[in-house]
């Protein structure tokens, strides 16, 4: 099967990006270097083409109650124009995907899902609509999505007139705006831990915005730096910390499961349940923990596995997330990671490796 292309594919090739297959798309992995791109987002401004991600629209009188029913987090109680991060679970509590739902109006919700799960999510969500007065549309192919991330994101988006002072977009909110004669959706969300925006537009407008952002000093950033940035701030990634076999509780996402809600899919399974795993944050001074490496206790017994690992650009050390069996979690909170022939003692972190500057 040939790979899908985003609307900006040609721009990536012209910039000399290293391309790689991701979720069926030919995506830019990096342009200049992962280091430069990560640092640009932390200190200034980066732009990511994340048009591969999926966009579903729920419209109609029951739009909000429907989304509240299918996700575990509280959507009904969120304010107008708020964004809500949530797992999407089965009746047995296992995670189909994690997503962000945007409450655009009383009767309109945008759900942004992982590219690799678009079909799975669509099949699931569209099978659950009975009894709700809604319309559900998969517009993943109609939208481009630019993630504009970094401390200068607000300033530059204002300079190129994507947002204005009167738009008052606070952190984790979204608005439908008319810009350059076109309806776009601008959300103050992202996957880097920095202040930033995600702009959902037509393909045509995306190329205009991409060029304007680069002209205004934004560094084009690929999926490789995106992964480093999200791991530094300990955001989970589906297929790594989350998968079809785990519940949100296993991935330390209890805060996204609002069992006080009257009803939602998975409530019976998740209410009062304990996790079988614990998510740990481990770093190494020397060496880089990688996905699949074993986590050990001080007696060198295997107690878990690394789910994501990389070299932190910000800290210049190996950082990782891993899942440890709950019943083997060591009381002394001391861990080792097996790298090739060596079991190396790791540093256990209770907070994210890097504190992003988001508002």
């Amino acid at each position: 099967m040939s790979l899908l292309k985003t609307s900006l594919h040609q721009y990536h090739l012209e910039l000399g990006a290293k391309m790689a297959a991701f979720a069926g798309f030919d995506m830019p992995l990096q342009y200049s270097s992962v280091k430069e791109e990560s640092l640009a987002v932390r200190s200034s401004l980066g732009v990511f083409d994340v048009s591969h991600m999926g966009e579903f629209f729920v419209t109609g009188p029951d739009a909000i109650s429907f989304v509240d029913y299918i996700i575990t987090n509280d959507f009904a109680g969120a304010g107008m124009e708020k964004a809500v991060y949530s797992p999407l679970c089965r009746e047995n509590g296992t995670v189909i995907d994690d997503l962000i739902a945007y409450k655009l109006s009383n009767e309109k919700v945008l759900i942004c899902v992982n590219a690799s799960n678009i079909e799975k999510d669509w099949n699931w969500i569209s099978s659950k609509t009975e009894g709700f007065n809604i319309q559900l549309e998969n517009k993943s192919n109609d939208y481009s999505l630019l993630a504009v991330q970094g401390p200068k994101s607000e300033e530059v988006l204002k300079a190129i007139e994507v947002i204005s002072d009167s738009d008052e977009l606070v952190y984790y909110s979204a608005k439908e705006l008319t810009k350059m004669g076109e309806k776009i959706i601008v959300a103050r969300t992202g996957y880097t831990g920095e202040d930033g925006f995600e702009v959902f537009t037509s393909h045509k407008m995306a190329s205009t915005l991409w060029s304007k952002l680069l002209e205004n000093g934004a560094t084009p950033c690929g999926l490789a730096s995106r992964d480093v940035l999200r791991l530094e701030v300990c955001y989970p990634l589906y297929g790594h910390e989350l998968n079809d076999e785990l519940t949100p509780l296993d991935a330390s996402l209890k805060w996204t499961v609002k069992t006080a809600k009257e009803k939602f899919i998975g409530k019976e399974a998740l209410d009062g349940a304990t996790s079988s795993k614990r998510l740990v944050k481990l770093s190494l001074e020397k060496g880089i923990p990688r996905e699949g490496y074993n986590i050990l206790n001080m007696n060198d017994e295997v107690i878990g596995v690394i789910t994501s690992g990389t070299m932190s650009v910000e800290l210049s050390k190996g950082i990782s997330l891993g899942l440890v069996d709950r019943d083997k979690f060591p009381a002394d909170k001391k861990f080792k990671i097996n790298i090739r022939k060596n079991n190396i003692e790791a540093t256990y972190h209770t907070k994210a490796f890097v504190t992003g500057g988001h508002k």
């Binding site: 490789a224 880089i288 990389t310 650009v313």
Partner: protein, 128 residues
């Protein structure tokens, strides 16, 4: 994309270079290798005195995204290890041919003579 392939060195299909000085052969990774890997952030090297057979893994080089084994182009004994690379792995990006990783003492020149010529290695890179 064109890469720097010095004429005075020999090469392997795994993108290592070898330089001969008497019966001592220095080994490193090529410009093509460092460019494909991207930012090199970690290098793990063996101990002096280790014996290597041709194609043995002698260490690891890691970029932010990937882990790659290093394979010995030759049979022999490791007589020197460039431990400076462990502290400054970025040298492999900045100066791949200045960043030798190990020096191997060989008992015969045959394996060295059989390595790829710069011309053959160039063709190999172009075919990838």
């Amino acid at each position: 994309m064109s890469h720097n392939i010095p004429k005075e060195l020999k090469y392997t299909t795994d993108h290592e270079w070898a330089q001969k000085e008497g019966d001592i052969i220095s080994v490193g990774i090529t410009d093509f290798a460092q460019s494909s890997l991207g930012d090199i952030v970690f290098v793990e090297l063996p101990e002096v005195g280790d014996d290597l057979s041709k194609e043995d893994s002698f260490g690891v080089v890691e970029s932010i995204k990937s882990v790659s084994d290093l394979y010995s182009p030759l049979t022999g004994e490791i007589v020197e290890v460039n431990s400076e690379l462990v502290d400054s792995p970025e040298s492999c990006n900045e100066s791949p041919y200045g960043s030798w990783m190990i020096k191997i003492k060989v008992s015969s020149e045959d394996e060295y003579n059989a390595l790829m010529t710069p011309e053959a290695y160039q063709e190999h890179c172009e075919s990838l």
